[in-house]
């Protein structure tokens, strides 16, 4: 993150800065700081003791990580954290594999029914999850999937969005590359896996980030399908606390902070990818 963003719209011109531009810059910065105020206060409160919570200063008088130690040593919370991690990672891997396999097939193979299958998969984007949860619940009850990892994960193992995204990118891969691999004697699976996949690595990373974030923050279906506390995901666990007179705000803020930290790390490490991925997906979709 350099002071002068290389990807900003226009080239730098020194000596032509007008007061209006300084005003705009200041307003934008203040607006941005206002946007992250809730996040800053979340971390600030998580570093305070119970008696300091009523002190609304942003910088805690005596910051301490005691709350983190307490929350993480609580068996439930650690379990929810691991549940969420396992589910988000597994679903992401599944999407990377299947969405790109289907996207590749639809982009690079000629066969009857290709367009029909593409439209059929695309049409599922029109169906809201809310409409499917009742049949999914019925199906899960019959197959004993309720209250299990698989029950939480199965609806998201493949997505039409990911398939569409990958198809768009595989279409940019030149056929010559694949033909050369075919002449070298690779079978179609190897061509896809070893030749085509590395060529769409940026798209794969964008898909991975979206899928991970989406599943890490997913709430509606996990709330429905889980009943025992051990199987809660982090968001469902956090929502199971209740807001009472004796609410331990510093503890809840610590839990909220722990749910946010992984996505912040992902963001800070992959900032460029994420912003560009959102732009790509937004423009293509």
């Amino acid at each position: 993150m350099t002071a002068i963003a290389p990807d900003a719209g226009q080239p730098l011109k020194f000596g032509r800065i007008r007061p209006g531009q300084i005003l705009i810059w200041t307003v934008l910065l203040l607006g941005g700081l206002l946007m992250i105020t809730p996040i800053l206060y979340m971390f600030s409160t998580s570093l305070k003791t119970a008696s300091q919570v009523y002190d609304l200063r942003l910088i805690p008088a005596a910051p301490s990580f005691d709350n983190y130690v307490k929350v993480l040593s609580d068996g439930n919370f650690m379990r929810w954290f691991l549940n969420s991690s396992f589910i988000a990672i597994t679903v992401t891997l599944s999407n990377l594999f299947f969405d790109s396999m289907v996207g590749y097939t639809l982009a690079k193979f000629e066969f009857r029914g290709r367009y029909f299958i593409f439209l059929a998969i695309l049409s599922t984007l029109m169906i809201p999850t809310e409409m499917l949860v009742i049949p999914w619940y019925l199906m899960s009850a019959q197959l004993h999937w309720l209250d299990s990892y698989w029950g939480i994960m199965f609806p998201g193992m493949m997505t039409a969005f990911g398939t569409f995204l990958m198809k768009q990118f595989f279409e940019t891969v030149p056929d010559d590359f694949l033909e050369a691999a075919r002449i070298d004697g690779l079978n179609e699976f190897q061509i896809w896996w070893k030749v085509a996949m590395p060529l769409v690595a940026p798209a794969l990373s964008a898909l991975a980030i979206f899928t991970f974030l989406g599943n890490w923050t997913a709430f509606f279906w996990p709330l429905i399908v889980t009943t025992s506390r051990e199987l809660y995901t982090l968001p469902v666990g956090l929502s199971s606390f209740s807001d009472a007179q004796d609410t331990r705000w510093e503890m809840i803020m610590t839990g909220a902070a722990l749910a946010t930290i992984p996505t912040l790390i992902v963001f800070l490490v992959l900032q460029r990818f994420i912003v560009r991925g959102v732009m790509l997906a937004g423009l293509k979709g």
């Binding site: 730098l12 705009i24 929502s239 732009m279």
Partner: protein
Amino acid sequence: MTHGATIGDAAPKGRVWDRFPIRTKRVIWAWAFLALPIIFYGWIRFYPTFQAFWISFTDWDILKPAQFVGFENYDKLIHDPAFWKVFRNTFTYLIIGAPVSLVVAFAVAYYLDRVRFMHGFIRALYFLPFLTTAAALAWVWRWIYQPVPIGLINGFLAQFGIPQQTFLKSTTQALPAIMVTAIWAGLGFQVIIFLAGLRAIPQTFYEAARIDGLGEGAILRKITLPLLKPTTVFLVVFSSIGFLRIFDQVYNMTSNDPGGPLGSTKPIVLMIYQTAFSSFDMGYAAAQTVVLFTILLIVSLLQLWVLRSR
């Protein structure tokens, strides 16, 4: 997965396969790749869709077998005052939330696009809330809206002698309070997409306009906004669908009493959730989901229509 799935068991390995022309082989490969996904989409997406329609015509309540009741659930829905209240709440989220967030996001993107100094940093500030978990940050917002001595806003107001606001416990303030949270959470995404759209407009258009002597306002009206139309339409539809399906923030900001005081914040998805998984009145809940589906379908079709009539 690879070879086994494509060759009949009876054939000696290699023989039959080798006799196929390359074109046929590739078709077989394609269907092998698609086999599992076709089962998935059929079983997890299409079949449940039809099932949802079917359940909406039954009185299924988990305990006794479903019985066909025709349009009874839909009839009940039309005459249910609770549904109309929820309907009104949902459209309040939509009609205020979507325009406000889009105008703010566009203003931020429009000016941020011209800012060079610390561009990436400021962009990150706006984008960060989009990456947070709604269930986690809902707690932070509940804290912000608490009465003195806990809440941030009331603490701030108290310094200026402004009376305490009840926010989430009020029948009139709870819905706007939740809407602010929802707008906050989605704003960063819209800013990024607007920025991408603005950057996709070729600089030559602006240069030509400047040579023609157009002012800033005229350039915005005659060049930026028309060329940005596809981006804008996408975001209008995307955020409209988001507000019509609002749930996480509402459920988590009033979880002692989901739906707020007297159901004043309850959107349609929360009603569906409670009908299906608190009352287990599956038939009735399914009818509500069909109504939601119809509304979302109309919004999506409007998008296609608007983009086509260009």
